[in-house]
C-alpha cells in the first residue's frame, strides 16, 4: 500500500519531468537544438501565473489561459531574437546559449524587488485537498498534475495527427529541405515549436507550483528532464512523457526503498556505517546512463548507428 502511494507520487513528479522533456524533444525535433532553458521557462511560467493571479487578480482558469498565451509568445520571440541568428553554428554553442538564456531568466526574476527572491504559494482552487480512495491518501494537487498531463498529451496528439500545423511540423522535423520545397514555412514553424515548448513548460510550471511553491530556483528541476528525454528517446514525443514517468516513479521508489533495504546489509558487509540516503539526485542520471549503454536510442527513439 505504501509502495503504491509512493509510486503514484512518483508518477505525478514524473509527469512534470515528462512535460518539460516534451518541450525539449519538440525543440530538438524541429531545430536540432538541445535547449537547457526549458527549466527556466517553466520557472517563468510559474511566476507569470503567480503575477497574473495575485497582482492582476485573475481567476484561476483565466490566469491559466493567459499564462499559456503569454509564454507561447515569449517563446516565439526568444526564438526569433536569440536562437535564429546562431542556428547554423556548432551545436555546442547553441547549448551554451540556452544555458546563458537560463541565467538571464533567473537573473531577471531575482531582480524584481521583493517578489523575485521570495518563495510564493500559488492560490489554486484545489490547494491542500486530499482524497481518500480505497485506503490510499491521494494528494489532489498530484492528481491534477496527472490528469492535466493526460489531457495535454491527448491535445498534442490530436494536434500532430490531424491538424495541418501538426503535420507540417512533423514534415519539417523529418526532412527540412523537402519541407521547404513543399512550401512549408519552416522558419515560422521553428518559432511556433519554441512557442509550443514554452507553453508546455509554462503548464508544467503552473502544475508544479502548488507542490514546490514558486521560487527562482525551480528551473533546476528541469535538469531531470534530460534523463527523461534520453530514456524515452530523443526523437519521440510520446517517449518523452513515458520517459518522464519512468524517471519519476523509479526516482521516488529508489529514494525510499534502496536505503531501506540496502543500508543494513552494506553496513554489515563493509564494516563502516553506510547511509544511502539522498541518492535521488543522481539516480535518474545513472538510469539514463544505463539506457545509453544498453539501448542508446531510448525506448521509442529511432535507431541511429555510427560504428567506429
Amino acid at each position: 500500500m505504501q509502495a503504491l502511494q509512493i509510486f503514484i507520487s512518483g508518477i505525478a513528479q514524473g509527469c512534470i519531468y515528462g512535460l518539460v522533456a516534451l518541450g525539449l524533444v519538440l525543440i530538438y525535433k524541429t531545430t536540432e537544438t538541445v535547449s537547457f532553458a526549458q527549466g527556466e521557462l517553466m520557472m517563468l511560467g510559474a511566476f507569470a501565473g503567480f503575477a497574473l493571479m495575485t497582482l492582476l487578480g485573475f481567476p484561476f482558469w483565466l490566469a491559466l489561459f493567459a499564462t499559456i498565451v503569454v509564454m507561447a509568445l515569449f517563446g516565439i520571440a526568444l526564438e526569433r531574437i536569440v536562437i535564429r541568428p546562431i542556428l547554423g553554428q556548432p551545436a555546442f554553442s547553441l547549448v551554451m546559449l540556452t544555458i546563458g538564456i537560463g541565467y538571464v531568466a533567473r537573473g531577471l526574476v531575482t531582480m524584481i524587488p521583493a517578489i523575485g527572491t521570495e518563495t510564493h504559494t500559488l492560490p489554486v482552487p484545489y490547494k491542500d485537498q486530499i482524497w481518500n480512495l480505497a485506503g490510499l491518501v491521494l494528494n489532489v494537487e498530484q492528481m491534477v498534475v496527472i490528469a492535466a498531463t493526460a489531457v495535454l498529451s491527448a491535445l498534442l496528439y490530436l494536434l500532430f495527427r490531424y491538424s495541418k500545423l501538426g503535420i507540417a511540423m512533423q514534415a519539417a522535423s523529418q526532412n527540412q529541405l523537402a519541407a521547404y520545397y513543399m512550401g512549408i514555412p519552416v522558419k515560422r514553424l521553428n518559432g511556433i515549436a519554441w512557442g509550443l515548448a514554452s507553453a508546455v513548460a509554462a503548464v508544467a510550471g503552473l502544475l508544479l507550483a502548488p507542490i514546490t511553491f514558486v521560487h527562482a530556483n525551480m528551473g533546476f528541476i528541469g535538469l531531470k528532464a534530460f534523463p527523461a528525454a534520453v530514456v524515452g528517446g530523443f526523437s519521440s514525443l510520446p517517449g518523452a512523457i513515458v520517459g518522464g514517468l519512468i524517471i519519476g516513479a523509479s526516482e521516488k521508489l529508489a529514494e525510499i526503498y534502496i536505503p531501506q533495504f540496502l543500508n543494513a546489509p552494506l553496513t554489515e558487509a563493509m564494516g563502516v556505517s553506510v547511509n544511502l540516503a539522498g541518492l535521488e539526485i543522481w539516480f535518474p542520471y545513472a538510469l539514463a546512463l544505463a539506457f545509453l549503454l544498453i539501448r542508446p536510442e531510448g525506448l521509442f527513439g529511432e535507431k541511429h548507428i555510427d560504428r567506429v
Binding site: F92, G100, Y103, V104, A105, G278, W282, Y285, A288, L289
Partner: protein, 354 residues
C-alpha cells in the same frame, strides 16, 4: 607591419619546431612572464592578488583541462566540477592520512585519482557522443555531489561536511602570504600550460583533433578511438583535479562539497566557450573574462553614480552576465581566441588594408 615574420629564417630543426616561431611572439611572452613573476607581486595589493589573480590562475588551469577535453578532443563534459572535487578531496585525504606527505606530491596523486575517475566516467564516450555524453557527465557531477556529502570517509567524518587545510609549505618555504600563494599558483599554471601546449602540438593532440573532427575517418586511418578518447579524459581530468586541489588548498582554505556544484561546471564551460574552443590561449582569455566581469559590473553603477542597493546590484550583475554571454555567443561563437588571432592577422598587414 609590426608582426611580419619576414627575415626570420629557421636553420635548425629545433628552431623550426619551437612553440613560438615568430620573434615578436617570443618577445611578447617574455615580457608577460617578466611582468607576471617579479613585477606583479611588488606592485599588486593584497586584494588584487588574493581575490582576482589567484582565482583567475586556478580557473584558467581548470578551463585548460576542460578545453583539452571539449575543445581538442570534442567530448562535451558538463561534470568538470566533479573532477575538481575529486582532486580537492583526494589531496586533502592524502595529506591527512599519509604522515609527512609533501603538498606537491599530494597534488600529483590527487590528479592521478581524478584521472582514474575521469577514465571511469569517460567510458560512456566510447559508445555515445555529443549531447548524450553531456548527460552521462551530468551523472558524474551529481554522483560526486552525493558521494562527497554522504560518504563520511572523504570528509574525515566531519559533522558539518566541510573540511579545512592547515598552512602549506613547499620545499621548506611557507605558502602563507598572498604573494607566495600567487607565485606558487603562477608557477604551477605555467608548467601545466607548457605541458599542455606541447601535448596538443604532438602526436596525441593530433589524434584528439582527428577524433573531434571526424571520428569515423580517424578510425579508418588507424587512430584507435578508445585510446584517444580515454587519454583525453585522463589528461583533462588530471589537470582539472590538480586545479581543484589548488582551488581548495590555496584559494578557499576550507571548503564543503557545495563548492564544486553544477554552477561551477557551467562557469568553467562558459570560460571555455567564451575563450575559444581548441585554444590554450583561449582558456586564459575566458577565465579572465569570467573572473573579471562580475567585478567590473559591480563597479560600473558606482562609477556612473547610479544609486543601487547591494541586492539589486548583484542581481543586475547576474542578469548582465547572462546577457553578455548570450550576446557574445551570438556575435563571436568561436570566442576571444578567434578575435585575438584575427587581430594578429590584421597586425601583419597594418597599416595596409590588404
Amino acid at each position: 607591419m609590426l608582426y611580419r615574420d619576414a627575415g626570420q629564417f629557421k636553420d635548425t630543426y629545433s628552431a623550426d619546431q619551437q612553440i613560438f616561431p615568430i620573434r615578436q611572439d617570443r618577445i611578447g611572452i617574455t615580457l608577460v612572464l617578466l611582468f607576471a613573476f617579479p613585477v606583479v607581486p611588488v606592485i599588486g595589493n593584497q586584494y588584487w592578488l588574493s581575490a582576482i589573480l589567484i582565482p583567475f590562475l586556478i580557473s584558467a588551469l581548470a578551463a585548460l583541462g576542460l578545453n583539452i577535453l571539449t575543445g581538442y578532443a570534442g567530448q562535451l563534459s558538463l561534470g568538470t566540477a566533479a573532477f575538481m572535487a575529486v582532486g580537492a578531496f583526494a589531496s586533502y585525504n592524502f595529506v591527512l592520512r599519509v604522515p609527512g606527505m609533501p603538498i606537491l606530491v599530494s597534488f600529483v596523486l590527487a590528479g592521478i585519482m581524478a584521472a582514474l575517475v575521469g577514465i571511469v566516467f569517460g567510458l560512456p564516450s566510447l559508445r555515445i557522443k555529443g549531447f548524450y555524453l553531456a548527460v552521462a557527465t551530468l551523472a558524474a557531477q551529481f554522483f560526486a555531489d552525493w558521494a562527497f556529502l554522504r560518504v563520511p570517509y572523504f570528509t574525515n567524518d566531519s559533522s558539518s561536511g566541510s573540511v579545512s587545510v592547515a598552512s602549506l609549505s613547499v620545499f621548506g618555504l611557507s605558502i602563507e602570504s598572498p604573494v607566495s600563494k600567487y607565485l606558487f599558483c603562477l608557477t604551477i599554471v605555467c608548467v601545466f600550460a607548457l605541458l599542455a601546449k606541447n601535448l596538443v602540438r604532438g602526436h596525441l593532440g593530433r589524434e584528439w583533433m582527428a577524433i573531434r573532427d571526424m571520428d569515423v575517418a580517424a578510425a579508418v586511418i588507424g587512430i584507435r578511438p578508445v585510446y584517444a578518447k580515454l587519454t583525453a579524459f585522463a589528461v583533462s581530468s588530471f589537470i582539472v583535479g590538480v586545479a581543484g586541489a589548488l582551488w581548495g588548498f590555496v584559494y578557499l582554505g576550507s571548503w564543503e562539497p557545495a563548492a564544486f556544484s553544477i554552477d561551477r561546471s557551467f562557469q568553467l564551460l562558459f570560460m571555455v566557450i567564451i575563450g575559444g574552443l581548441g585554444s590554450i590561449m583561449g582558456s586564459f582569455f575566458g577565465a579572465a573574462f569570467i573572473v573579471l566581469l562580475p567585478l567590473f559590473l559591480s563597479q560600473v553603477p558606482h562609477l556612473l553614480g547610479i544609486p543601487l542597493t547591494v541586492t539589486v546590484a548583484s542581481h543586475l550583475e547576474f542578469m548582465i552576465f547572462g546577457s553578455l554571454i548570450v550576446f557574445f555567443l551570438v556575435v563571436e561563437p568561436h570566442g576571444l581566441a578567434r578575435l585575438w588571432s584575427t587581430a594578429k592577422e590584421k597586425l601583419r598587414l597594418w597599416p595596409f588594408p590588404h
